[in-house]
Amino acid sequence: MPIQHIKVLRNGTDEEELKVVETTGLPTWDADTKFTVVGRPQSRLEGLEKVTGRARYSYDVRLSGQLYAAVLRSPYPHARIRHIDTTKAEQLPGVHAILSSANAPDDITWYEEKSKLFDKTLRFIGDEVAAVAAESEEFAQDALRLIEVAYEPLPFVIEVEAALQPDAPRVHDKGNRVDEPTIYERGNAAAGLREADVVIEQTYTTQTAVHNSLEPHGCTAFWEGDQLTLWESTQGIFETREQVAEKLGLPEHHVRVVKEHMGGGFGSKQVPWKQTVIAALLSKQSGHPVQLMLDREAENLAAGNRNATVQRVRLGAKRDGTLTAILADIQVVVGAYMVGGEASEVNGMYERLYRCPNVRTEQIGVYINAGPCVAFRAPGHVEAAFALEAAMDELARALQLDPLTLRNRNYSEIDQKKEKPLSMPNALQVCYERATAAFGWQTYQRPAPTGPKRRGIGIAAHEWGGSGQPPAYAWIKLNGDGTVDVVTGTQDIGTGARTGLAQVAAEVLGLPIEQISVHLGDTAKGPYSPTSAGSSTQASVGPAVFAAAVEAKRQLLEVAAKLLEEEPERLEIRDGVVMVEGEPENKLTVAEVTGRLAPHMIIGQGARGPNAKDKTIRTFGAQCVEVEVDVETGEITVLRVVAAHDCGRIINPTMVDSQVFGGITQGVGFALTEERIVDEKRGLVLNANLEEYKIPTVADIPQMTNVPVNLPDLAANPTGVKGIGEPPLVPTAPAIANAVFDAIGVRLRHAPLSRRQLLAALATQAESIDKSAPPHTQEGQS
């Protein structure tokens, strides 16, 4: 029987102290558990609504008297507003409210207090200058043109190296370094390098990538008295509520945040942005509902991106491949501001993925005058993998080892940072085995080159969090007709959270999934659940639903036991029928039990318990890639990707496949085409649109295979589930880069692997195309 009690009160910042709920006595789904709903493909419960266009997204909200807002954005990468005059705009018919630094509250700050809601200093093209609410989007645009602003342009800096010069223009008064460098060292890295027989030393760079979710950021704000409702495209309805309440000085129960359906966020919607509060204020000022959705350009300029990085990597190894040192000096280009939320931990993978006694990482953040970065699907890890996994490949070549052998030789079974065991020490091993077996890594026969086309294969691995964590809460309500409402304050960010949670409830309650409805995405209707980030929704909220369902079932069986004149312990529910063990005749349907009880009802409450403390819970994965490179035109074609990812227990194989295929797709874009292009002389973003910011099309996507790795991790939670949302993107790009090298003997160290880079590299290394030439020699090899 689950007992919930508050163990430690929230005090201070120690992570361990923050766990307020202990859930004991819960059954667990161990490896031998037999399932009827869990582990089976289940199409999405909201699928029909979506494909028929009925699902309501933030853009679809239409309220009586609704106004439309537009934002005037800075045309300069760095400027001060000398004067702003909105008189003419105010006089335009159809305009109801205007906000700017001239009239907006002065005490609302943003970006770690480095900016006000409407600041007089603008630090990137796209920074908010003013906002208008009018009767149509067109009126609002017309009004923006009538706002007169006198700007004083200031010196600016775009390029990271320039930004680090002592006399560089300053993005912020204190300079362009976000903070002191974060330094980590274990063992003695310098000594480790000296011990090495072979040293690889290379610098890799990754680009600024933009999330470009199909659904842009934005919300519709509406006041009823002093009650504010926000239909917001967000990954965290409670986080949004808390922040908006704080910024506007409102009690939390006066703010309601709703998110029914979402067209992706990928991290960019895990923090509230200025426009949410702007919409709320415009609504207050006008007395009308106000919808403020970003257009594609604003989405590209001012709604977050993946930070570019420069990573100088040094790896040292013995002849047999044993790593003696890993060193990484990392610059993270954060844009004009830090937005809070998940920081990009580029250093983490260097410290964890491989067994190595001597590791040193140094990471600094650098401000430049461009749009701010924010978490983007596996922040830090995607960037780190591109460098580390390529460096490992270079090391393997230098040692004339198979890249897989090198990885196995340096396999880590423990959390070396915390010196704790991993909850699933062999998970990565399983991923390697399944991915390479399904791919045919060991037996791969390179086809003879056809004309200018060369084939090659590459492998890369990763590790990531995704354990999920408390707190998260859920309620299960059993209705009189035996149907079930699952209520929780999480949100479905497009991943299919409703379906995964319904499967958990259906399994525990022994009911067909058709009898379950999941209600989420509304702070006024469901209990707290965390922001959907860090691949944690199913792993955080699933166990809360599990606990609630266990509790509801306990109550249900207690009632059923009375009706059947039996002991509850002898009862089981299967396919909606309560049965007595060994007495097939003695049974009642769940609907009969709840019907007898109605209108009294059964309510199960559940909370997410803490993770095991004595172990570190991580997720792992590996991908193998085959590419074809046309050495004359520099065209790279990704032919196939085979992925194996550890995500604990698989609740719904179809949805896991979706995450893997989506991740690989984004990985192909990151590897080959996606890059924000900024003119450094002018600070202009030149491709703030989907024509020139090139996401992969269906024709660019390779054949993808996801090999299921179903390893329930009970250290994480009783359902054994871990996350899969972010990881599949991580190894794709380095595996592609490694495959390109395998195909043509040319190493591309800068993402994306553009034609420009490839053709230039081919021109200088033309001789290495010939596969019969001696193995590519490493620069920096000692």
């Binding site: 017309d142 035109t633 520099g634 292009i677 003119d679 202009l684 491709n687 090139k694 024709a699 081919l762």
Partner: protein, 329 residues
């Protein structure tokens, strides 16, 4: 987008008159709108009136075979060009070029006339915050900026590349455009119709403000002519050409008797490399010849800071196109 009036006209004369009406260029013709509307959204084009050409009864649409060749009405969609069976047979080059242009949705909307008259995709030109030379400003920001997509030939003052895939194919086919102005009609070879923008005419064509494009005429091709359009893109589909090659070759006993080579994505207008064509005539079709021709075709290319890779790319495509077209089998 700024407010504008939507106008329908009934005759060609009336349309031309309206187009030429005033001093500033505030009346524009609207065909499929796939280029014009995007320019209007960015306020690069700010017409006060739009004349809907698709509702103009006298404006030709559709594909007709003539004694020798073919005539294509300006309103013919790119999808029709891609899928018309007669056209596919007679001018596979054009159908091929249409098939790799834009996306199916765009091809359904876009007209061939609009395609030939579309404006450059230069990302400075398309940026609302920049008033570059082509838009009437003083300087070309691409020249010292992010010019990886820019011109190798004919650059200065503008280094934008012509975005059309149909134009290089039509130029190789030696098409003529039929234009109509207030004073009547004129026939202009496509080779003259496209002209590098200059101080007083900051556009890529000779089309006058009050002129309409009516038809595109294609002359016949001798039997045995082979052709292809190769296009290198940043991704597999839905991208403008980094470099493209429209190539036409006729062989007699392994000797090349006729050759036409037009490059796209390398100049402000589709770029015919006549000297290379001439060098091909009489040459024996083999790898060595093609490598030389490729070098020759790109000999005058002038790269900017970021686009030298296009030279390699163009050479490869020229070689590949010629090899494909002369491959026996």
């Amino acid at each position: 987008m700024r407010p504008f009036d939507y106008v329908r006209t009934t005759t060609l004369d009336e349309t031309c008159q309206l187009l030429g009406q005033d001093g500033d260029s505030s009346v524009r013709a609207l065909a499929g709108g796939t280029d014009l509307l995007t320019l209007m959204k960015k306020e690069i084009s700010v017409p006060t009136q739009l004349i809907d050409l698709k509702r103009l009864p006298d404006l030709p649409s559709g594909i007709t075979s003539t004694a020798q060749g073919m005539t294509i009405g300006t309103l013919t969609t790119m999808t029709e060009i891609e899928t018309n069976v007669q056209l596919q047979e007679k001018y596979p080059l054009l159908a091929e070029a249409a098939a790799v242009a834009a996306t199916p949705q765009l091809r359904n909307m876009a007209t061939i006339g609009g395609n030939l008259l579309q404006r450059p995709r230069c990302w400075y030109y398309r940026n609302q915050l920049v008033n570059c030379w082509l838009k009437g400003g003083d300087e070309c920001q691409a020249q010292d900026g992010e010019n990886q997509l820019h011109a190798l030939f004919g650059g200065g003052p503008c280094y934008a590349v012509h975005p059309s895939d149909l134009a290089p194919a039509l130029l190789a086919l030696e098409a003529t455009v039929q234009l109509r102005g207030p004073g009547g009609e004129r026939m202009v070879p496509l080779a003259e119709f496209y002209a590098l923008p200059e101080e007083k005419r900051r556009q890529e064509t000779q089309l006058e403000k009050d002129e309409l494009l009516l038809n595109i005429h294609l002359p016949g091709l001798p039997a045995g002519t082979r052709s292809t359009y190769l296009k290198a893109m940043d991704r597999k589909v839905w991208a403008f050409a980094l470099v493209g090659v429209a190539a036409i070759v006729r062989l007699e006993e392994q000797k090349i008797v006729d050759a036409r080579l037009v490059l796209s994505g390398v100049a402000p207008i589709p770029w015919r490399v006549t000297a290379a064509e001439q060098a091909l005539v009489g040459a024996t079709a083999n790898e060595a010849t093609f490598a030389e021709i490729a070098e020759f075709a790109l000999a005058d290319a002038q790269s900017l800071s970021h686009n030298a890779y296009k030279i390699t790319l163009a050479k490869s495509l020229v070689r590949r196109a010629l090899t494909m077209l002369t491959d026996e089998g």
